[in-house]
Subunit: 308 residues, 4 copies
Amino acid sequence: MTTRTFHGIVPPVLTPLTADGEVDTASLERLVRHLVESGVHGVFVLGSTGEVAYLTDAQRDLAVRTVVAAVDGRVPVMGGAIELTTARVAAQARALEAAGVDAVVATAPVYAINDADEIERHLRAVAAAVDVPLFAYDIPVRVHRKLSVDLLVRLGAEGVLAGVKDSSGDDVGFRRLVAANAAAGSPLALFTGHEVVVDGMLLLGADGVVPGLGNVDAAGYVRLWDLARAGRWEDARAEQDRLAALFEIVFQAQGRSGDAAGVGAFKVAAQRQGLIDSTAAAFPVEPLDDETAERIEAIVRAAGLLGD
Amino acid sequence: MTTRTFHGIVPPVLTPLTADGEVDTASLERLVRHLVESGVHGVFVLGSTGEVAYLTDAQRDLAVRTVVAAVDGRVPVMGGAIELTTARVAAQARALEAAGVDAVVATAPVYAINDADEIERHLRAVAAAVDVPLFAYDIPVRVHRKLSVDLLVRLGAEGVLAGVKDSSGDDVGFRRLVAANAAAGSPLALFTGHEVVVDGMLLLGADGVVPGLGNVDAAGYVRLWDLARAGRWEDARAEQDRLAALFEIVFQAQGRSGDAAGVGAFKVAAQRQGLIDSTAAAFPVEPLDDETAERIEAIVRAAGLLGD
Amino acid sequence: MTTRTFHGIVPPVLTPLTADGEVDTASLERLVRHLVESGVHGVFVLGSTGEVAYLTDAQRDLAVRTVVAAVDGRVPVMGGAIELTTARVAAQARALEAAGVDAVVATAPVYAINDADEIERHLRAVAAAVDVPLFAYDIPVRVHRKLSVDLLVRLGAEGVLAGVKDSSGDDVGFRRLVAANAAAGSPLALFTGHEVVVDGMLLLGADGVVPGLGNVDAAGYVRLWDLARAGRWEDARAEQDRLAALFEIVFQAQGRSGDAAGVGAFKVAAQRQGLIDSTAAAFPVEPLDDETAERIEAIVRAAGLLGD
Amino acid sequence: MTTRTFHGIVPPVLTPLTADGEVDTASLERLVRHLVESGVHGVFVLGSTGEVAYLTDAQRDLAVRTVVAAVDGRVPVMGGAIELTTARVAAQARALEAAGVDAVVATAPVYAINDADEIERHLRAVAAAVDVPLFAYDIPVRVHRKLSVDLLVRLGAEGVLAGVKDSSGDDVGFRRLVAANAAAGSPLALFTGHEVVVDGMLLLGADGVVPGLGNVDAAGYVRLWDLARAGRWEDARAEQDRLAALFEIVFQAQGRSGDAAGVGAFKVAAQRQGLIDSTAAAFPVEPLDDETAERIEAIVRAAGLLGD
């Protein structure tokens, strides 16, 4: 499996939970099979959308093994190693590898206050801990620092990194990354994590997308990908506009936390489609209230995802 | 002149200065004539790139009158009213109107710590002070707050605002703004201020662009615009890639302020092309040093803008 | 008048306004006379609390001339020159000097994105524009950059700056500034702008205080100062605790902007004591609602400032 | 052991490491014995200064057991449970309790994007997991949110929290917390984490201090505490000034990360005094270079801590 293996639509799969907070493996299997059958090009388990920060090691292991089994080799599986401490990130990466993922995704350290050199040593150590490829996960809204283009492309050229999942919201930076990567011979597979600007990001050269909203409308993102590949950019834009309208589900919960509103909306939308059983959120997050859920359901219905 | 008048490539024109810090009107005329003859669809005088924050009222007035005269009605002129105090912004707006601009551009208040209601009253008051259309200028990196989609579209629907210049770097927010504006009947002309993602922003529905780099390669941006209008998106992308490579000029000055590095690079690049006489910056900013200027010149030359 | 002239309790005087937004000179005179008769050691006109950012040049000039006349030489008057553009700050500084202030207070540039060298040139230029002493105003919440200890003490040692008004909320930085200033022979008069930690700041070596709450209870701050000077630190602490309880007035307005809540609370409290006629705020800020004003009045009453 | 047990000088003990990154238990024992014999009123193991974020579970367990044994019941031991995921924080808290700490210290969740209600549930769950008291650790520079006065005092009044370690650098907020806690009957023991404003914080009512610099000069902090208790505030201020000058060691490493510069400086200073063997830092941080270490040593020597 080469770096070029990683491309296209790779949803960060939700972790469905039971009412008592355990991983609902039946729902997770069902969701993952649905994603694969919708044509996604990979799945990303244990990302922020997968509530990785809220899960214990045992829950994480159960989730990743469930996903790997459900995917059954049909598409690559990427897994997030999100933790304090390089040693623990490396341990999580090894656990992911043992569970069968095809690539590991890791951020810069959190809580610690590190500079670029320290982040580089951290990423090198995680890469050295596993045989599968490592993707850097650039998500300043959670990690509170931005990975530099220079660092990423240098580590790509050396073979330390196989790619980047960019959730920085910095489109200027992403274009600079695409250009610098191209100039270096494209060692990195470059994914954007922003689900409403996929048309433009594919146009400028993104290799793929990790759309949380892909849990809700995987087929839509696959169509968007296919239209872009076919050079039908205005049709791609129309599909993206439809998906952007659907993305309004994450803005329905007023006065709730970012995680409650975002992941919560995806869970409601997936549950209403029968993809998962429960909208339960990971402790200490509470699920969205009924009124919010109804507004979300109306948006999902308007998008044509709930039948007539 | 209707709101639809405002579209396309509208460079935020540099304010060339003499060595003693006065407006170099001969250079400014030459630059503006060059821009118009390159096919731009408008010019924006007294924006951040025009060093508005560093100029006195008299210098501002001289700059805008010089630009209006040089444009000579061939394209619309937008002018920035950037000040503390609603009353002073309104006074600047009236001065711009008296000098002949076709639209005024204003930010939320700076220094003051205001909420959305106060920002709304501020924008309403500025709009009421002039007969020409008002554009809101959303630039959190300088104003330290973000204008909301709801506020902008509501003021657009009411006719208070004619458009938005978005320099927020928030592409997700910009797409939401485009969608909400479309849903409201497109009262707003929507411009992006980010010069390296123009292809994607035009694809998703931007009405125009205010590229600082347009001072350096106006013809390139006009080509990009024309390719996009023709639906030749991959050619547009190639042109944008070329312009993005040229944009690396703003990253050459190490250890300098944002204004010194950015505006300074544009001035060096314009001066090397003979568009302006001097690279002098507005007090208290010093021009870029020779070594940096040489790196910038090399990039401009590589872009084919300096002959053989 | 030497730098040592500037010390003690120097309230940033409110700018009372009429219902139609003009400077209420009668109220301003009354307030200032009350402050001086309460024993303050100076007054600061046209600071953030004085709504300087909302006033026109003519209003500013009227305010400062009213204050200078009301003070009548009994204590020093400091005036804020808060503006975009070094040239305009210098012009404001000259206007303040012409109106009779004893010192000018200026911030780093706003809106512009400058580095330390540029800020230094800015401060030098403002200092050179006037004969009265210049104080640097360090207020990152509004200016969005922090002035460094090294810059401030160096400019103090050179005689460019006579002092600092520190509203940074960075008590660690303030102590470092006090220590570095002492090591340099104490060229700077160092004022804290935070009204609820005055006891500790005086203990560690502050030369004075610019308490917005001093508009509401000037006598309390004078007592606090006198107790500190007398080395009666635990009594000073008790007085500060009383004043800190009174400061809760600024937290009463829920869902309002920082300026509406803070200056608004001071105006309500001053108006309830008869020190000013109206709680009108500067456009585009609206005054606090009646319910909030009643909560503020109750706190002021509990502090013993409204008689029985 | 009651809440009132927790007071005074409680250094966040360094975790000395060997060259290969393992916990140097001999040095840790020596350091802790030195601290206790210097008169500190408690020690805090596995805080930010203890490099908790860089240590594995096994290393953490070794560190806390070493500290508990070295303290031998002479003063209370507080231990940090710093982790992603409520469940893992609770597990760490139980491990600390099993190792013999007298109190656990926990932050709001990191990485996750939670609101106040979610943070409250998190803290309640951690408190419920152990029988020893829980302290909330408010450190926005690492956790990127601020705990509110209302939340802290409410949880204190309910017995969920026994205290707060405030490393927020928000002295206004800390005074409000002290006042609100007093009004509620002082359920919380309130510690400041800022080592250079201890005199003022004790004056305003802090119950204790967690000074990283206490690893370098514990006796100085104990003297400062004793002087404050004796009401000798000006002598306390002089001692604090001496310690503040010593704190300049953390500003000697130019161009290094916050953790490298801060913890690194404490380690150099402790090593030069013979309190620990090595200045090794936790991976991926490198120790400070020799030139920086020499500057630090000179400051430590000037403070009288290295003999003649």
